[in-house]
Structures are given as structure tokens and as C-alpha cells.
Amino acid sequence: MKPPTFKYENRLAKSVVTRGGMSASEALKAATRAVEEIRDPTIAAIDANLAEIYALGEELKAGGVFEETALQKMYICSNRVVAMGGVFGLGELGQAAYSLCELISRFQTLERFQWSMIQVHIDGLRLLRTPGDHPAEIREQVLAGLRQVATSVN
């Protein structure tokens, strides 16, 4: 009988070297430069996902009932904003999107829905899309409020 546990070669281990290659600071500098090359299309993708969230919000508002498909689409768009926001200085927008994901996830578990809770998240996303226009204190308060709203759904 083969033992269930065995040692194996970690193919990535040979990448750790003491000479050649890149130090942490060199790698970070090069990667940051490379990521910067796609700033514009990524910001455009963030805005496209935000636009879809806002449109889905209108749909949910008009329907006024728990609508699984629209909520799931909103969750997917919001999760993409989580993934991309923090890469280009929109970390707080990403946190607000994370809170919206948490809210939707809780709605889905309970199969219920409250428009005002979505609305406040959409307002938060709009505000945090332009963080430079608002003092840090306000942004922190908005985020704290959104987290409180999302976690209040039980």
C-alpha cells in the first residue's frame, strides 16, 4: 500500500536564488511599472462594472422584490470591483464593493431583499469612486456605515 504522505520536489524552489534574479524592491518596481501600463483600460473596466451595478439597482428598485438573477449579476460586478479597485488607488471603493458583496450574499442566504440597503451601498460607491473629492474622515465614516448595514442582515 502506498503511503498517503510523501515528499516531493517543489519546482518553484529553484527560483529562490542569492545571486541574479530580482530583489523584492526590484521586482516590485518592475511589476508596478508593468501594471501601470494597463491603468486606463482597467479603470474603464471598473467604471463599466459600476455602471452595471447602478443599472441593476434601478431594476431591483422598480421590481421591489427579491430577484435572484439581478442580485447575482450585481454580486459578480461588485466582486470585480473588489478585485480591481485596490490596484489603482481605489482601495476604499473596493472595500465598499466588498460590503455590497457581503450584503447580497446575506440576502441570498435569507432569500429576502431590502432596497434601501442596496441604495446606500450604491451611494457609497458613487462617493468613493472619486475619493479625492471627499475628506478622509467622511470616507471612513461611509465605509463604517456600509459595513454596519451589511452585517446587520441576519
Binding site: A13, V16, A27, N79
Partner: protein, 199 residues
């Protein structure tokens, strides 16, 4: 100066597979690895593309898999890779990247056989730290009926006191009585301060 050389990463010969659920996130990840000097990057948007790459005979040094694939298919993909007994890729380090995680997915992320889960957003700093951590990974590989992947225990403290371990190399955490005389101070010193033998 500490006298200890800083660890460096040379990924110029590494082959990396990236599986992400949308083009923008895939591009971000790709740019991060280009910045790290990786020349062979396979970018996949679907599970099908990624499986074809895995089965194509290419040996991957790292797989980065999105947790947020439709239907959480990323977890199933990792489980299938870990069970591919005819492919060396089953032993490749696998990093999961996750945005918001619903509670039902947390256990799946832990149990699918990945080495590590990293929260989005993926910044160069986060990714560099995690790649370095994975490169130093020394956990053993476990294959059972219900799990295939790196040992989920990051540290081995032995089985709980009073219980017998389930594995052949499990040692009890409880210390037994000394089986021989104590070491002398000079023996201990010699262990910490080795000298060249004069022949």
C-alpha cells in the same frame, strides 16, 4: 550590514499558468508576473483552456487559479489537477485568489488541495510575498480518498495528548523519560560552535 544575502527571485525560467474569470483581472495578474521577469505565461479565461494547458505536457512551476469562476468551478479544477496521477503538474504549487468569499466556499478553498489562498486585490507586493512563500514551501503531499494536496497542517505538533497518531511518522507531543545520561556542557557547546577538525 547583516552579512546574510537577501533572498532573490529568478523567475525567468519559470512557467506560470494564470486562470481568471475576466480579461481585466487576467491582464493585471499577467502584468504582475511580467514585471517579476516570467517569460512563459499561459493566460486562461476558462476552465477548459486551463485543463488543455495542464494536459498539453507543459510542466508548470506555479498555477494561479481564481476562486470566483462561475459555479466555483476553480475549486473543482484544482481538485482534478491534484488527482491527475499521470501528470507532474498535480504537484505544482497552486495559489487561489479570492475576492468576496461566501461562507460555503471557505471550506472548499481549504479542502480543494491548493497551497494558499490570497485575497484580492492582487498587488505586486502581495503577489511577491506569496510567491516567495510558495517557493519555500516544504510541506509534504497527501493523497487520501477524500483529499489530495499539500498537508493542511502548517506545523506538526503531534497528535493530541493521550491519543495515538494516525500517520506512521506521528510522534507524541508528550515528552517521555530520558533514555540516557544528560549531555555535558562541552557536548552542547560543540553542537553550537563547530570547529574544523585538525587532521
Amino acid at each position: 550590514m547583516t552579512g546574510t544575502a537577501e533572498a532573490r527571485l529568478n523567475l525567468s525560467k519559470a512557467t506560470v499558468l494564470l486562470l481568471q474569470n475576466n480579461q481585466s483581472e487576467l491582464d493585471i495578474l499577467g502584468q504582475v508576473f511580467i514585471g517579476f521577469g516570467v517569460k512563459a505565461i499561459r493566460k486562461c479565461l476558462t476552465i477548459g483552456e486551463a485543463e488543455d494547458c495542464i494536459k498539453s505536457g507543459i510542466l508548470f512551476d506555479l498555477l494561479v487559479v481564481d476562486c470566483d469562476m462561475p459555479g466555483h468551478a476553480g475549486f473543482d479544477f484544482v481538485m482534478r489537477v491534484r488527482r491527475m496521477e499521470d501528470s507532474e503538474n498535480r504537484l505544482a504549487p497552486i495559489m487561489l485568489v479570492s475576492g468576496h468569499t461566501v461562507p460555503s466556499s471557505v471550506a472548499r478553498a481549504r479542502d480543494c488541495g491548493a497551497n494558499f489562498v490570497v485575497a484580492k486585490p492582487i498587488t505586486p507586493k502581495t503577489m511577491f510575498d506569496r510567491v516567495m512563500w510558495l517557493a519555500r514551501e516544504e510541506r509534504q503531499f497527501v493523497v487520501t480518498d477524500t483529499y489530495a494536496g499539500p498537508d493542511r497542517r502548517h506545523k506538526t505538533f503531534g497528535p493530541p495528548p493521550g491519543t495515538k497518531g494516525r500517520r506512521h511518522d506521528d510522534l507524541s507531543a508528550k515528552l517521555g523519560k530520558a533514555s540516557g545520561p544528560d549531555m555535558s556542557q562541552s557536548d552542547i557547546d560543540a553542537m553550537f560552535n563547530p570547529k574544523k577538525a585538525s587532521l
